[in-house]
């Protein structure tokens, strides 16, 4: 127990970067913002996330925000991770290059809060989550055409400003 307590400490951005490259060397970092951002390809997401959650010195147990950004030529999944034990924060971005049929592994097995968040992203961005327990349109009707938060979404009732 004492040895566990001794290891509880907040990592700096440099230490986080080092630990991340140990898990996945081909990562790109972005340090322009408040948090450290790690960008990885969408195919590698699940094993990396599992490591981030389970490694005792990282222990990211709290997914406080999950969303998606449409950059027109690709979609970017954004995961805001925080460790309640160590109190360090990391943003993981997964790049989805296939915008016509976007899909990515669900992180529901790691963080339960992902279930409804991924439903919402599927509803509004059209990203399919593999191995999601109950993927459904959360807000819109089942037969709604298109995904409203995509930049190429057109609605005949929409007023152009």
């Amino acid at each position: 127990m004492i040895s566990v307590l001794n290891t509880i400490r907040t990592m700096t951005k440099e230490e986080l970067k080092y630990s991340f490259t140990q898990i996945f060397p081909a990562v790109t970092f972005d340090e322009s913002g408040e948090f450290l951002v790690a960008i990885i390809p969408s195919e590698e997401l699940l094993p990396v996330m599992k490591e981030l959650r389970s490694k005792p010195e990282l222990y990211f147990d709290y997914l406080f925000c999950e969303t998606c950004i449409d950059w027109k030529d690709h979609l970017m999944m954004v995961y805001f991770l925080n460790s309640k034990t160590h109190n360090h924060t990391l943003v993981v971005k997964a790049k989805i290059t296939d915008t016509l049929n976007p899909q990515i592994e669900s992180v529901y097995d790691i963080w339960k809060t992902a279930e409804l968040n991924e439903d919402e992203i599927f509803d509004l961005f059209g990203v399919r989550f593999l191995n999601h327990p109950n993927l459904r349109r959360l807000f819109l009707e089942e037969d709604w055409v298109g995904f409203p938060l995509r930049k190429n979404y057109v609605d005949e009732h929409m007023i152009e400003l």
């Binding site: 322009s32 913002g33 408040e34 948090f35 951002v37 147990d61 709290y62 997914l63 406080f64 925000c65 969303t67 950004i69 449409d70 954004v78 805001f80 309640k84 109190n87 963080w111 339960k112 809060t113 279930e115 409804l116 968040n117 919402e120 509004l124 109950n134 959360l138 807000f139 819109l140 009707e141 409203p148 938060l149 400003l161």
Partner: protein, 373 residues
């Protein structure tokens, strides 16, 4: 039992009924599909979207002065605090220094909002569990707070008072005396709340050991606010990531390790008194000076991503802005506290009776427009 159009019985003999969208205890249009074995809950599935207005999509075509106005329609009981989050994220991106007077007034108004919101929760929780009188007690004080909002912010419910850089108008000259009046009234009457609900054995039995949310589950489901603090989780944004000068104030983060509905009730009751404590430290010390920092007429955020979180009455609200350097957000995401708290309900309601689901809903205190956005 009379079954509705979408209700049916499964092959295993389980009733599938729809609670809502117009059920009185859901406080808005939320539909919970409930699988029941007799009275015992087997499974709950939330169905959302009855008041989805796509606030995130609308924000993409609004300027940084306008987009915050939509957020007072999200969690309408924390309207000020939602606006504050939107103002703070713009201030953070532009590195604007907010005048001390504006900061003090923002905190006082935010904490009044929190008391008002918890009062409405107290009223409706009592109402859901069969007591009508608490509603009138709580609304007596809430009415006084609403009057202050009306006088100073121009609206009783969907206020828009916090703007990037400060506040939109200065408060009226009688603001301090009016707030003190309301606080005195609240403190004098607080013992009545305890007498009518806290000490009521029937009420206690409805809540104790009902809806257990463990600390691990609270983290896994992303629960925040009083809901998570009742499970022993330190998650008060005002303490962890202070904004607007909360770090200078003396107040306690209310934590309980009860994990049940009763603990959630106790945490909210104690939080109201902490809010009073915060206001009392500030109300006689509002600095003189400007109420808003100078910003350009058309605000353009630098290219990049900005995240700001605040503690609303229900938990952690995060505003995530992706800017491409233009005058409108490229992407605007609201991490809503109610959305995360809702996701815990199917898990914690399993195994309890359907009557307990009402108690769980009452103490988790959901605001549906904040979930649907």
């Amino acid at each position: 039992m009379l079954l509705g159009e979408e209700d049916y019985i499964t092959e295993d003999g389980e009733f599938v009924i729809n609670m809502g969208p117009q059920h009185p205890s859901t406080h808005g249009v939320l539909r919970l599909k409930v699988w029941l074995d007799g009275e015992t809950i087997k499974k709950v599935e939330p169905h959302l979207g009855y008041i989805h207005r796509s606030i995130e999509k609308m924000s993409e075509s609004l300027s940084y002065r306008q987009y915050g106005y939509l957020t007072s329609r999200m969690d309408y009981l924390s309207a000020h605090i939602n606006n504050l989050a939107c103002a703070l994220v713009v201030e953070k991106a532009l590195q604007v220094e907010v005048p001390a007077r504006a900061q003090a007034i923002r905190i006082i108004i935010s904490e009044l909002t929190r008391i008002g919101s918890h009062l409405l929760w107290f009223a409706s929780a009592g109402l859901d569990l069969g007591g009508v009188t608490p509603f009138f007690y709580a609304f007596r004080e809430r009415e006084a707070i609403n009057s202050i909002m009306d006088e100073n912010c121009g609206a009783r419910l969907t206020q828009n008072f916090m703007v990037p850089g400060g506040i939109i108008y200065d408060v009226r000259p009688d603001f301090q005396s009016r707030v003190k009046e309301v606080l005195k009234q609240f403190k004098d009457n607080f013992h009545e709340y305890n007498e009518i609900l806290t000490g009521n054995v029937i009420f206690q039995n409805r809540l104790k050991d009902v809806g257990i949310l463990t600390k691990e589950d609270a983290i896994a489901f992303g629960c925040t606010g009083p809901t998570a603090r009742a499970s022993g989780l330190n998650c008060d944004i005002r303490k962890m990531y202070p904004y607007d000068g909360y770090e200078k104030l003396q107040f306690d983060e209310v934590i309980s390790t009860g994990c049940d509905s009763w603990a959630r009730y106790e945490v909210r009751m104690a939080e109201m008194l902490q809010s009073v404590r915060i206001i009392e430290q500030l109300i006689d010390n509002i600095p003189e000076g400007d109420i808003v920092a100078k910003t350009k007429n058309v605000i353009k955020l630098p290219k990049g991503e900005f995240y700001q979180r605040v503690e609303t009455a229900r938990g952690e609200l995060g505003v995530y802005i992706v800017s491409d350097g233009g005058s409108t957000p490229y992407r605007c995401k609201y991490r809503s506290p109610n959305f995360a708290n809702l996701s815990a309900i199917p898990h914690i309601a399993r195994g309890y009776k359907i009557g307990d689901l009402i108690a769980i809903m009452a103490t988790i205190d959901l605001i549906i427009p904040d979930i649907d956005r």
